[in-house]
Amino acid sequence: MSHTDLSREGLLALVRRAWTEHDPVPDGLAERMQAVAQGEAALVEVDLDYELLMLVDRSTELAGARGTAAYTLRFAGADLDLLLRAVTGGDGAARLDGWVAPATACSVGVSAVPDTGRTWEVTSDELGRFEVTGLPPGMYRVFLTPDDTGVRPFGTPAFEI
């Protein structure tokens, strides 16, 4: 067989096959993305105008003791940053600590993705800090509505706890 039998399209099909086998799409990724897209479409439907924060940093600490794990996510928007620290305890439930910088008093809503109808509502203090406890493992988004109505609400993409 001469190598000229291999057309460009034929070779690219082999490349697709090689990568599909070698680095397959993670299990459940499409389903997670469906849940995210559906959730966002529901927000668009009710015309919720909010600024989508971008994840700019993620770090994991091995907290060590009794199977606890902690990680920190930093999100950035045009005018503010949001830092989230999630700590999962031995019982599997997580505690989420948040800091808004610059410090902004907000109503904070944490909602599950896909939407189970369950949300956790807290407020951030004048230093911009808040905490949510008892979160079961899953995907969540955090939405913040500043008390100052002149400031647009903002929210995070979904992240896994």
Binding site: M1, H3, L6, R8, L11, L12, A13, L14, V15, R16, R17, A18, W19, T20, E21, H22, D23, P24, V25, P26, L29, A30, R32, M33, Q34, V36, A37, Q38, E40, A41, V44, L52, M54, L55, V56, D57, R58, P157, A158
Partner: protein
């Protein structure tokens, strides 16, 4: 696949739900986005974040896509830009060489068939893996995208604009040789 994406995008705009609408679009295009984004050497977490950002952007800016046939290209371009931004903004990118080489075979095959197919897959992977890294990344993007804009791809792979066409040709030639050498074609 691009036609399937277009059809589902149209369906979604016209109010279809489930696999005829947004869910179907996400199902069809997420694997493509995965391979394009992973060509930027992002870890799994970071790659998933980029893909999520892409879907959120699509839902938020649906009206900006006037031609439903353009939805696939819009998604891959958005994902590629975001992957590039993320890979240059963080030092979390890792070379793919460090990752575990794993074979993922469909279940329920006879042992003999599985062994034969596994060997074939091994040889195919070996051929792809012997390519220089820039070739592997470029061919992965070109293989999964539908006629990407070369000047954009060049910028994100740190290659001179105008060199992509010739580089792609050289990479494909190298792949042909590698396939013959590893016996993947016999």
């Amino acid at each position: 696949m691009w036609a399937e994406a277009e059809e589902r995008f149209r369906g979604w705009v016209n109010g279809a739900t489930g696999d005829d609408g947004l869910d179907g679009l996400v199902r069809v295009m997420t694997p493509v986005l995965w391979h394009v984004v992973r060509a930027y050497r992002l870890e799994q977490d970071a790659a998933e974040d980029v893909i999520q950002t892409t879907w959120l952007a699509l839902v938020r800016r649906r009206d900006a896509i006037e031609d439903p046939a353009a939805v696939g290209g819009w998604l891959t371009t958005t994902a590629r830009r975001e992957a590039w931004r993320t890979s240059s903004a963080t030092r979390r990118a890792v070379p793919t060489e460090d990752e575990t080489i794993a074979l993922h075979l469909p279940r329920q095959r006879s042992a003999e068939t599985a062994a034969l197919e596994s060997e074939e897959a091994d040889r195919l992977w070996l051929a792809v893996d012997t390519l220089p890294e820039r070739c592997r990344r470029l061919l992965r993007i070109v293989a999964f995208e539908n006629r990407p804009d070369y000047s954009e791809v060049a910028a994100t792979l740190d290659m001179p604009v105008g060199s992509i066409g010739p580089t792609r040709g050289r990479c494909l030639a190298k792949l042909r040789v590698a396939l013959l050498q590893t016996g993947a074609l016999s």
